[in-house]
Amino acid sequence: METTIAGYKINTTEDGYLTDFSQWTKEIGEGLAKEQGIEMTDKHWEVVEFLQGKHKEDTALSIRGIKKSGVIDIKSFYALFPGGPLKKSTLIAGIPKPKSCI
């Protein structure tokens, strides 16, 4: 579906994830974060960039991956993206959330 974030038209899934990462910009990331009630800081951006890098390498995203990333520890990760940090941080990063086969 098409929606407008920060003045830009983007295509998303029904639960709000970008379907085409090439549409992502920092402004859109900021807009998506605002909708989640999150004000982006440098640390937030560092996590988002890490996730985007992993996504590019086709690596599955997990809490374990975050733990070993050296970017952030788990407690702070939860504090930055409260209530489901992986699903929120991936949404802001413009990449798919972790999924199962159904």
Binding site: E14, D58, T59, A60, L86
Partner: protein, 413 residues
């Protein structure tokens, strides 16, 4: 003589031995398969063992029976792979190889979670991903008088990602049949944001949890198990109490992959997702649960991979370019309880679809819909596994790549 060595005689390794022996000249190629264990388990049966649906004998056989004549079966422990030297060290000998196929699978690693192997392990906390775990759980369920049953996934990826959900559905049926469903409270706990994470599935299947009275606890990434207070606790300090915890611990590749320095954080080997050649070594191929490819870790996936990998090994030996063919195809039955099941068919890019399988419009199996026929399909599959799948016999009308005939892509239908 040249040597082709297969490590692991589980589903994937056994299939590769059966595929390759008739295709490689016996005067030119030795094929060896190495596995330290004597028993071959029908792992999908572990889901049914706890509920007394299958007996112990129905899910295990002597592995050697499925290895074809002309393949050297070595029942020894693998110490280390030396991919730079084209050698594999076993407990008391060293094998040289020209081609190596790694099929060492994945297994549970309960020690990755704090407190999981505490005083309650195998008393009130069980896994059903091992034969021993499934049996211990069966014995527990036979005498359990009810309370809070928590079915839990630690982290992904896991082997057969739908199995824990199937377990919750079958538990609902089991306790209904025993006339004690009102004494059991079932909660499904997952690190993902729902029991169904793909739009086609959440649209078609969300009713199942409600219908069966199964509670959902999503976004739960476990930090530790509190044995004293019988609770699992996540990183956000959320607590879920249990009387009986059925957990799927972290799944990891075999320790030999770690000892050989060939794996990622979880000991899975970086593998090309369409050719199944290892990223690091061109004469090393990886199949089944041992790879890091983003396909489901499941027998059906290994079956489809085996067909592509066989072709690719033959191409490699002739010096041709490998086929980038494997599409992540998976085809799985999902037990929903009350003697019904679903069937799903999907690949790397296409989500599970509606329609009929394997024949367009005819079926007889229905995709993404509960039916009694699908349940029979799952039970018949045990016979197919032992008699066709392991022997590398193609399953009629089911192709290695996902077919789009007779399938409906509109999720509203």
């Amino acid at each position: 003589m040249k040597n082709l060595v297969i490590l692991g005689s589980g589903t994937a390794g056994t299939m590769m031995a059966n595929h390759l022996r008739p295709k490689l000249n016996k005067g030119e190629w030795n094929i060896s398969i190495v596995d330290q264990y004597k028993t071959h388990y029908y792992q999908p049966g572990f889901l049914f063992l706890p509920f007394d649906t299958y007996t112990e004998e129905q899910v295990k056989k002597v592995g050697k029976k499925f290895i074809p004549k002309g393949v050297n079966y070595i029942q020894k422990k693998i110490e280390k792979i030396l991919p730079e030297d084209n050698k594999v060290e076993l407990e008391d000998e060293t094998l040289d190889y020209d081609i190596l196929i790694v099929a060492t699978g994945s297994k549970i690693a309960p020690d990755e979670t704090e407190g999981l192997l505490g005083p309650l392990w195998k008393k009130d906390i069980f896994d059903f991903y091992t034969f021993e775990g499934a049996l211990a759980l069966r014995n527990k369920l036979r005498e359990w008088e009810g309370g809070k049953l928590v079915v839990h996934i630690t982290e992904l990826p896991i082997k057969c990602p739908v199995a824990p959900l199937e377990f919750a559905f079958l538990a609902d049926s089991y306790f209904k049949e025993k006339g004690m469903r009102n004494k059991v409270d079932i909660t499904y706990v997952t690190p993902l944001d729902g029991a169904f994470t793909k739009p086609t599935c959440s649209t078609a299947l969300s009713y199942l949890l409600e219908e069966k009275g199964i509670k959902l606890e999503p976004d739960f990434a476990i930090e530790r198990v509190d044995n004293e207070n019988k609770k699992i606790i996540d990183y956000a300090d959320k607590k879920v109490p249990f009387d009986l915890l059925v957990t799927v611990p972290t799944n990891m590749g075999d320790e030999v992959i770690e000892r050989s320095g060939m794996g990622d954080d979880l000991n899975f080997i970086p593998t090309h997702k369409h050719t199944l050649q290892s990223i690091e070594h061109e004469n090393v191929f990886v199949i089944g649960d041992a790879t890091n490819v983003p396909a489901s870790k499941a027998g059906s996936v290994a079956h489809f991979q085996a067909e592509t990998l066989t072709d690719n090994i033959l191409l490699y030996l002739k010096g041709y370019k490998l086929k980038e063919e494997f599409d992540g195809h998976a085809n799985c039955f999902i037990e929903t309880g009350d003697k019904k099941a679903l069937l799903i068919d999907f690949n790397y890019v296409t989500e599970p679809v509606h329609g009929t399988f394997p024949f367009s419009k005819i079926g007889p199996l229905k995709l993404l819909k509960e039916s009694v026929f699908n349940h029979w399909g799952k039970l018949v599959f045990r016979w197919i596994y032992w008699n066709m799948l392991l022997k590398g016999i193609a399953i009629p009308f089911v192709s290695r790549n996902m077919s789009f005939k007779g399938k409906v892509f509109d999720i509203k239908k």
